[in-house]
Subunit: 292 residues, 2 copies
């Protein structure tokens, strides 16, 4: 028997679509229903065989639903939960794929208070600079991690169901406290995205932008790959995780102030030591990451 009888995906883009495809491929989702604000996207997802049906409204979507994955940009979480709440039946699992957890959890406490035993927040660590249902793939989560940030109110069997679903999709599942999650990802994901968007935006606005871009090479390509990411999704992440992200940005500005002073004073020795420390850490991380 499939792990999930009726699976509802809200926001059938890269992440939601890949989750649906992965579970279908494993036979772990009997029927997949799509919900979302763009009818056109949902019809594309249906044409691509990612979902079976498009729900007319939340009442229809949640009727008999076993598992709901919220995979739209996190800025919509509050409104979506508010719309879902009146139609949600006891026992329907609600999880999400948001890159931030504090805001999603706050919305759950506000909007789904009666349903908290079954609301298990999660974050699959699988990005791509591509977005949309066309980019979805059953293999997206293979060998990747999904972080669960369970609530004290969660029923143990709800947590296990969400864990099993992400494992079926190919991910390794780890648990974290929501606050730790948001701080860690501000540092290793949200800040780098901000920095890459910033660099490309800065260069693109120059009078000699064309000349600059014509000489950019492989270092620039890799450094700025994430500047091709989904603007609305990243706007929402930045706003949702604003406090932690500002903290990380300020810490990084301190690092740049140090580097600037070393440059200004021509302190080659300390500059080289800083580069050497960074290089050693980067190589050690690369080796550990490759061995995962």
């Amino acid at each position: 028997m499939a792990l999930i009888g009726k699976l509802v995906i809200c926001g059938v883009g890269l992440i939601g679509g890949s989750f649906a495809l992965a579970l279908r491929e494993k036979g772990e989702a009997a029927r997949v229903i799509g919900v979302g604000r763009s009818r056109l996207s949902l019809e594309r997802a249906r044409a691509l065989g990612i979902i079976d049906e498009i729900a007319a409204d939340w009442a229809a979507a949640l009727d008999g639903a076993d598992f709901v994955l919220l995979a739209m940009p996190v800025g919509q979480t509050d409104a979506v939960m508010q719309a879902m709440a009146p139609h949600l039946r006891t026992g329907t699992i609600v999880s999400d794929a948001g890159s931030t957890k504090g805001d999603v959890i706050a919305a759950a406490y506000r909007r789904l208070h009666a349903h908290l035993p079954c609301v298990v927040p999660a974050h699959p660590i699988a990005g791509a600079e591509k977005s949309g249902a066309e980019a979805a793939s059953a293999a997206l989560f293979h060998g990747k991690r999904t972080v669960l940030t369970p609530l004290p109110e969660n029923a143990p069997e709800a947590i296990e169901k969400v864990r099993a679903a992400w494992r079926a999709a190919g991910a390794a599942v780890v648990d974290m406290a929501p606050h730790d999650h948001d701080r860690v990802f501000a540092a290793v994901s949200h800040l780098p995205h901000l920095l890459a968007f910033g660099l490309v935006h800065d260069l693109a606005g120059r009078a000699n932008a064309e000349l600059l871009f014509s000489h950019a090479a492989s270092g620039f390509r890799d450094f700025t790959r994430i500047a091709g990411s989904h603007p609305e999704m990243w706007r929402d992440i930045c706003l949702a995780n604003r406090q932690a992200l500002l903290g990380e940005l300020d810490q990084y500005l301190g690092e740049l102030a140090l580097i600037r002073s070393l440059l200004l004073s021509g302190n080659g020795e300390r500059l080289e030591r800083l580069f050497e420390e960074a290089r050693r850490a980067r190589i050690a991380w690369g080796e550990a990451d490759a061995a995962k």
Copy 2:
């Protein structure tokens, strides 16, 4: 007949080694002599078949030399040119592979004044986070660019010889004024390296560095790949191109100040527009780059 009879490589690492291998493969370098400060590296390069001989000193290296490529870190340029000068014969071409041109040219005016018709500065745009002769490859420059920054004093046939050598190595050759070169590469190469080194250095110094790195994923991997680059080489580049790099860093700090203020005030609309502009520019560049 080979384009170059006796080729001398000073600094037989990734770049110098790859240049030698590429020209040998094409039959365009009859004999390759290595010079450098590390006897061990030179012996490795000989064992790998990159060079035929190790020169005992500059007198021996330059005796009958047709073409000298300076491929050691740019901070050594002045000392190397000073050491070469007494042994350099009329007609021997001297080129380099430095990532900065202003400092190399200043050293040439100081140390090789009598030889300027034959000193043609160049910069092959082919980096890799790897370094050393072991990483050298005859294919490194295939499909890449080499920028020439010829001097007004250059003999046209010297420029053509250097151009022909880089073309034989597989590169497309373009000309630029040295000042433009240094400003352009400060923006699209040197600054991103500094930013990547800075981010990894910042995170590696945290008390929770291990936790942070354990959650870093593909976005982080690409963004920080260049933080694995050669520390001494990058120290030299940063110092050599200090003025332009400080200018770029300050411009970027202005961009980050803008982003910080948008975050602080929760201005989602402008943040999204900034991301959208960056994304559009990054995608257009990626398509143009792939079509090259």
